[in-house]
Amino acid sequence: MAFLTLTNIRKVFGMAVAVDQFNLQVERGEFLSLLGPSGCGKTTTMRMIAGFETPTAGTIHLDGKDMTNISPTKRNVGMVFQSYALFPHLSARDNIGFGLKIAGQSKDAIAKRVNEMLALIKMQPQADRFPHQLSGGQQQRVALARALAVKPQVLLLDEPLSALDAKIRESLRNEIRDIQRALNITTVYVTHDQEEALSVSDRVVVMSAGHIEQIGTPLEIYSQPQTLFVADFVGSMNFIPGTVIDNKGNVRCASHTFNVGTNVSAFSANTAVRLALRPEELRVYNREPQQPDSFPVTLNSAEFMGTTYRLHLAAGELGTLLAEVPANYARTLHTAVGAPLQVQLPSEMLRVFTA
């Protein structure tokens, strides 16, 4: 049995099903993210692990013990909140020592452990400041230290970076990841931000409407989405509606026919499908010379993204296509609004979903 196991978890609030058929096994030392839009049940799931909610059905085991109905005060689970939730009347030091004091440790033991934690988050100089004297990023680091001080078996982070600015968000997520690695602590991270989930996790659980859509490594989630929801929610994706016309992998989209190889063998002829392709997988050329298997498009607008340009392309019956090309390459293209371009959809990249 895995270190943390959720089995057939179901949670109902009044008439609303918040979480259903939730099965998950988290290994010791793993960094796992729950990713999904707001209201998908990810926070409820985490709150059941913390003990703040009791599952309507199902069991939660931690290190072999059934935790399903244990009080949150007895679970030995560390929690970090979006709003930091530091105790306003206590200094950073006393916040970190709060749990140790409750555990009845000696003053010396508390002081020693608090100093270790302050070193870990590199905040010894600010140890005696009060929360309102600290920046948001510093407050969240103190909250992390407070949760870790009591040596919890599992660390739970509930959208810990949502209240912070973009630059601090990026540096703090790397710091959290480094600390997690150094302590090898089993971690469950809740976020609605796919970039955050992909960049720090060992595995990602994508949720929607209370159930699991896909579990996998960040690379699997991004490059092999199993459902239309995951394809749409994670990263940008072009969707092209079409119909399967034979069992040789040919799909008709408006007047175009694309061969998607064997991908389509699972679908019988005449099935309505949607082809999916990431913007960076489209190949964009100037109109001349004509490329094989390409079709003409017109540039609607170009967004400069730093390392890349994002091109909004009018593709006639296929609607608007989004393409992302390296900034260097974009310089070789016609980029005036209305410029004539051509596009190739590499058939080996085309994913197929039931419409």
Binding site: G51, V77, F81, S83, L86, H89, F130, P131
Partner: protein, 261 residues
Amino acid sequence: MKRTSLTSWLWMIIGALYFLLPLIATADFSLRAEKNKLGFLAYERVFADPRFISTFTFSLYVSILTIIASIILVVPTAYWVRLRVPTFRRAFEFITLLPLIIPAVVLVFGLSRIYGKYPFQFMIETPALFVVGNVIFALPYMYRSVDIGLRAIDVHTLTEAAQSLGASLPYTLLRVIFPNITVALLSGAFLTFAIVMGEFTMASLLVQPAFGPYMQQISSSKVYEPSAVAIISFMLTWACTGAIQLLGRRSPGQTQVAGSR
């Protein structure tokens, strides 16, 4: 910008005058007990009156009991309501507003009918019933203050944070919630104090030797002393407010006075 700040100063001054004029008029009057001369004769007479001291001390004693009883009654209740039954919050708030709506006469009648019978008759013989009545009168202010104090901190998340660190609910209430609403509590205590000191209706119906009836009585029997008493009690409450503002400024992280949001 010049014009704007001029106008706003003008408004401020008009507002202040509106309230201060009666006060100044009273103060002025209280100093005229001796003919053609400003002086503190009225004040000397007031302090020389043994009933001033005795009623003032009695009301002070009652107000302290009232404050303690209200805090014990209100804080855990308001905390519990916010934490566990937030849907009842409006209903609860309405209940605490009832004392503003129910006339004092009704309350006193009702209370004495309930507590006047065995085994509660000791309530009538001691100031206990008077304290209970005052707790009820002070409730809207105390509850409001505490609730505003609780709103300023994130009760829900702080409680969960404390729980995940192993703290029980009573421990959380004493060690996390209380220290973070001290200013709100002071503000509620101060309003309660002002109310108890000035309370007249209930004190006279229950025949209590309180400060309110004393003020009322000298108002109708003396000329200058009532003004002097009024000024003294105003000074006193002003001093309390000042103290609270000072305490509020010192307290780290939580400088919220109930009146200020």
